[in-house]
């Protein structure tokens, strides 16, 4: 079945790598690097093949029965491919980055083994065709990211890991309860069969609302909706590639992706609107956006500030979904990808500053623009995108969010957008000012906390090129948004499917 092998092969590229990496000895870093990179490249190729196939109209599907009434289903659709494409691209970049970042660290074998398992879980989430399969990989993601969070092994990392587990395992349990309850009510709901719930009639609405809230609660833990976001800032103790992965690609995105699937493919936007849940989503998203931005303002260290920025930014996706109408949907979906690109750039830069110059606090960034120009340009690009300035991709998301708010008759959302952009500016612009306009150790004032010369350029090539690439992609995604296969185009493709019955 040519239809089945492609999604399975995509999963296999990272899943089969795991035992291979664990089998290699710790010292064989060249072989491990080759293995990681080739697997990442292969995955990008396979996902591209699936995208091309989807545009041709092919369908990819793999399923088998786990128990009666419960199927394991891989089904490739545009939304899943969007997420898969983002994951595979960013995995390639993060693999390169991690190889450079962990150059002298112990336990690299353990790290890369669970790293690959984490990406396998993310691809599984992207390709999942029903709630059971989604849940399977969702929990596998929790398991595979725990060793990454506690990688450093000191007391703070272990505590952060415990907090992480408490939140995510409880969230996973809540999702499990919701999914089983749905199965009891209607049986196996494949993504896209929205009529299964819609056909239940008005008597079931109360129960459906409760189930929605339960599932939202469980998914919201990973999506870092306030007040379930407590694990995220504490997980900053992990190495920078892990933070990049957690925040931009895997965990938080998986939560947001789950909410997208819930609203569009399980309940359907019509039913969700009927149940009055869209307004609730909008309120939750607003609270998270504003709270996250305000907490970010108060942070003095770079990574925690970026962490709260993530809390705030991911809720744009939820906000976009909650705006009834195609523009809101496009905005939410396209921001899924744009935020991934921009946030991963920012975390790479933070990691570069920490590795090359030992900078962890914002007030140590004075004049870093002169010492590490490429990194700082990349940071600037990411920050401007977060604020929402053209031509970076973030502008496109905010523009569509505004249009979606108008279309959904919720003009107060525009106020929220403006306020949030101002807050973003308030906590990003001072950093940019420090980078470029304050004299620092590069100008002879003071010293860097711990300078190491890691490479020929401003830092090691492994660390630099992924940063620059994702920054360039962020600009391109904004500039070339009108071209086919751009994130905006893909999001519009998905939305067109959703809104035409």
């Amino acid at each position: 079945m040519s239809q089945a092998w492609l999604p399975l092969a995509t999963l296999a590229t990272s899943l089969l790598v795991v035992p291979l990496i664990f089998a290699l000895p710790e010292r064989a870093w060249r072989m491990r690097t080759a293995l990681n990179l080739s697997a990442a490249l292969l995955k990008v190729v396979l996902v591209a093949l699936m995208v091309w196939g989807l545009y041709q109209g092919e369908s990819y599907r793999f399923s088998f029965t786990v128990v009666q009434g419960v199927t394991f289903l891989f089904q490739v659709d545009a939304l899943g491919l969007m997420f898969a494409g983002l994951s595979s691209l960013l995995w390639l970049a993060t693999t390169v980055y991690a190889i450079g970042y962990l150059e002298d660290s112990p336990n690299r074998k353990r790290f890369f083994g669970f790293f690959s398992l984490c990406v396998a879980s993310t691809i599984g989430i992207a390709l999942a065709g029903n709630l059971f399969t989604f849940l399977l990989f969702y929990e596998l993601l929790t398991l595979s990211t725990y060793p990454l969070v506690v990688h450093r092994g000191h007391a703070k990392a272990l505590d952060a890991g415990t907090t992480y587990l408490r939140y995510t395992l409880t969230g996973g349990l809540v999702v499990l309860l919701g999914v089983v309850a749905l199965h009891v009510m209607v049986g196996d709901v494949t993504f896209g069969e929205r009529e299964m719930l819609a056909d239940l009639g008005p008597e079931a609405h109360g129960l459906l609302t409760v189930l929605f809230l339960i599932l939202l609660l469980g998914l919201g833990v990973k999506a870092a909706l306030v007040p379930l976001h407590g694990w995220l800032p504490r997980a900053m103790v992990a190495p920078a590639p892990v933070s990049a992965l957690l925040h931009a690609v895997a965990v938080v995105k998986a939560g947001a992706f789950g909410i997208v699937r819930l609203v569009y493919d399980v309940y359907g936007i019509g039913l969700t609107y009927q149940l009055g849940l869209l307004t609730l989503l909008a309120v939750i998203a607003t609270v998270t956006i504003l709270y996250g931005s305000m907490r970010a303002l108060a942070q003095q260290e770079l990574k925690p500030r970026l962490a709260f920025s993530t809390v705030s930014q991911v809720s744009y996706i939820v906000l976009g979904i909650s705006l009834f109408g195609p523009f809101g949907t496009i905005a939410g979906l396209v921001h899924l990808m744009h935020q991934g690109l921009m946030k991963v750039t920012l975390f790479y830069c933070a990691g570069n500053y920490a590795e090359e110059l030992g900078i962890h606090r914002i007030d140590q960034l004075d004049g870093a623009g002169r010492r590490m120009p490429l990194t700082s340009i990349a940071f600037t690009v990411g920050a401007l995108g977060m604020i929402g300035l053209p031509p970076v991709a973030g502008f496109i998301s905010k523009w569509y969010l505004g249009m979606g708010a108008v279309q959904a008759n919720m003009p107060w959302v525009i106020l929220v957008l403006v306020a949030s952009s101002l807050l973003n500016a308030a906590y990003f612009l001072p950093i940019l000012y420090r980078l470029w306009f304050r004299p620092g150790p590069a100008h002879g004032v003071g010293e860097w906390p711990q300078e190491r010369r890691l490479g020929r350029f401003e830092t090691s090539g492994w660390l630099l090129w992924p940063t620059v690439s994702t920054a360039v992609l962020s600009i391109l995604a904004g500039l070339l948004a009108g071209l086919p296969f751009s994130p905006l185009d893909l999001a519009s493709f998905v939305t067109a499917e959703e809104y035409t019955p």
């Binding site: 088998f64 009666q68 399977l136 990989f137 596998l140 725990y146 890991g161």
Partner: protein, 496 residues
């Protein structure tokens, strides 16, 4: 429900089927005695010889399954025994043989490395054989006398196995176990006596038809259940389990926690389904005990300082899930009972495989670090990835995280509880999951510690690693391919 248990299966007509069954029963004992004479030093002869009972089982399945099940009548003078085999029986037989094989194959390296020349090693093999045979007898039994014989043999063999280390703590714990096992047997015998006296039959099919509710039935069932639940370490009669495991040999612990307590559970479930299938309130009581077991066992495992205690208390907790399944099978609607039927047996199989794997992996960890406390694992993830991996994979099934068999079983039990509307059981399942995660990840937290002093790690022999990993992986894979064994459960006379 008795058709699901295979009790209404057609009578056998071929002698070959009977011989297949006698081979399945007799070969383990024979092999055990053989091993006692020969005293194997390596694992592969054990694996090779253990294929013989597996082949006999395959032969038996081949003969039995096309008809859905078979019953045998065995006449000993004027006494008639009734044995039966159906899909459920065959699956339980397979589970028994797999775990006994793994435990027996683990033993030579373990005895050589860890035990040296202490204790009574030669008795391990015949006792394991007798244990396997008595368990098979329990699964096959269709009348109370055979059940009694099987139960007693199993109990005595289990006590004997626990006494093998020969140290004072093992003997003291074994003494307590012996006394409680004997008391349990007495209660069981008294219950059988009352049933026989009232209705004059020992075969389960006849009792199912003849039993009338009344004082006698209730007293008999109460006595039977008390004895059997004591042997199954159900809350609150569980206190003997943890001390016994603390001092037992690793392969013996694996075998015991995986199968021996399950044998008693199987008997008590079977008897309730035969005698009192509509006893909703009483089943709720047992379910309540199960919920209490889940929480109490989980809490004590969380607080335990020694690794083996964590795993032993985890057994008490997981047995609570099985008791929850009890109350979902008795006195509920057929659709709920159907889902709960699959969930209970899947949970039994998942727990057996995972717990056996976990005990073997724990044995490896203790051997390698030389420490039996949880904090002795500090920094272990760097040096012993394979043992920790086996422990971790088995733990995934125990906590009930996907894609393991424990997850699928928990899914089915949740489905049944939600459909029946039994909210307390849902809370118990949820709390149980969180508690298991707490005590498992507490162990892993120690293993990730970086700034611990490096200990001297002994290299674990590959055969010990292999079987721990194999059992753990089996529990994982069973989760995804659960439909095939469940089809057997359904097809053999237990269809919707």
């Amino acid at each position: 429900m008795i058709d699901r248990l295979g009790l209404l299966a057609p009578y056998a007509t071929h002698l070959s089927d009977f011989s297949a069954m006698m081979l399945v029963l007799g070969l383990p004992v024979l092999l055990g005695v053989l091993a006692a004479c020969w005293q194997p030093r390596r694992s592969w002869p054990i694996v090779a010889f253990s294929l013989l009972p597996l082949m006999a089982l395959a032969w038996l399945s081949f003969r039995v399954l096309p008809q859905g099940g078979q019953t045998w009548l065995i006449e000993l003078g004027s006494l008639t025994l009734q044995w039966r085999a159906n899909g459920l029986t065959l699956l339980l037989l397979l589970l028994t043989q797999v775990i006994v094989l793994s435990s027996a194959a683990y033993a030579p390296a373990y005895l050589r490395e860890e035990i040296g020349s202490k204790g009574q090693q030669v008795w391990l093999w015949p006792l394991q054989g007798i244990l396997a045979a008595s368990l098979s007898l329990i699964w096959l039994a269709g009348d109370l006398l055979t059940l009694y014989i099987g139960l007693e043999l199993m109990g005595l063999a289990a006590v004997g196995l626990m006494l093998l280390p020969g140290r004072v703590d093992a003997l003291a714990a074994g003494m307590r176990y012996l006394l409680l096992a004997l008391v349990g047997s007495l209660a069981f015998l008294l219950g059988i006596a009352l049933l026989l006296g009232a209705w004059g039959r020992l075969d389960l099919v006849g009792l199912a038809l003849a039993a009338k509710p009344g004082v006698l039935l209730w007293v008999a069932v109460a006595l039977l259940s008390a004895g059997l639940l004591l042997k199954a370490a159900a809350f609150p009669l569980h206190a003997w389990l943890a001390p016994v495991h603390a001092s037992a040999w690793t392969p013996v612990s694996a075998l015991h926690a995986a199968l021996v307590v399950k044998g008693s559970f199987f008997i008590v479930l079977q008897l309730w389904l035969v005698l009192v299938p509509e006893a909703r309130v009483a089943a709720w009581l047992v379910g309540g005990l199960g919920g209490a077991a889940v929480i109490w066992g989980g809490l004590l495992a969380w607080r335990a300082a020694k690794l083996k205690d964590v795993v032993a208390w985890s057994t008490v907790s997981q047995l609570g899930y099985l008791l929850l399944g009890f109350s979902l099978l008795i006195g509920t609607t057929p659709s709920v009972a159907e889902v709960a039927w699959e969930g209970t047996w899947l949970q039994l199989a998942a727990h057996s495989l995972a717990k056996a794997g976990m005990f073997l992996a724990t044995g490896n960890l203790i051997y390698s670090t030389g420490e039996s406390h949880v904090r002795g694992l500090a920094g272990a993830s760097r040096r012993m990835p394979l043992s920790l991996l086996s422990f971790g994979i088995a733990a995934i099934s125990l906590i009930g995280l996907p894609p393991s068999a424990g997850f699928t079983a928990k899914w089915l039990l949740l489905h049944a509880s939600l459909e029946a509307g039994y909210w307390p059981w849902i809370a118990a399942l949820a709390l149980g999951t969180l508690l298991s995660a707490a005590y498992i990840f507490r162990v892993f937290r120690y293993s990730f510690v970086e700034d611990a002093e490096p200990l001297d790690y002994r290299r674990v022999p590959w055969s010990m690693e292999l079987f721990a990993l194999a059992l753990a992986l089996a529990s994982l894979l069973l989760g995804l391919v659960a439909e095939w064994p469940l089809m057997l459960l359904r097809a053999a006379g237990g269809g919707a």
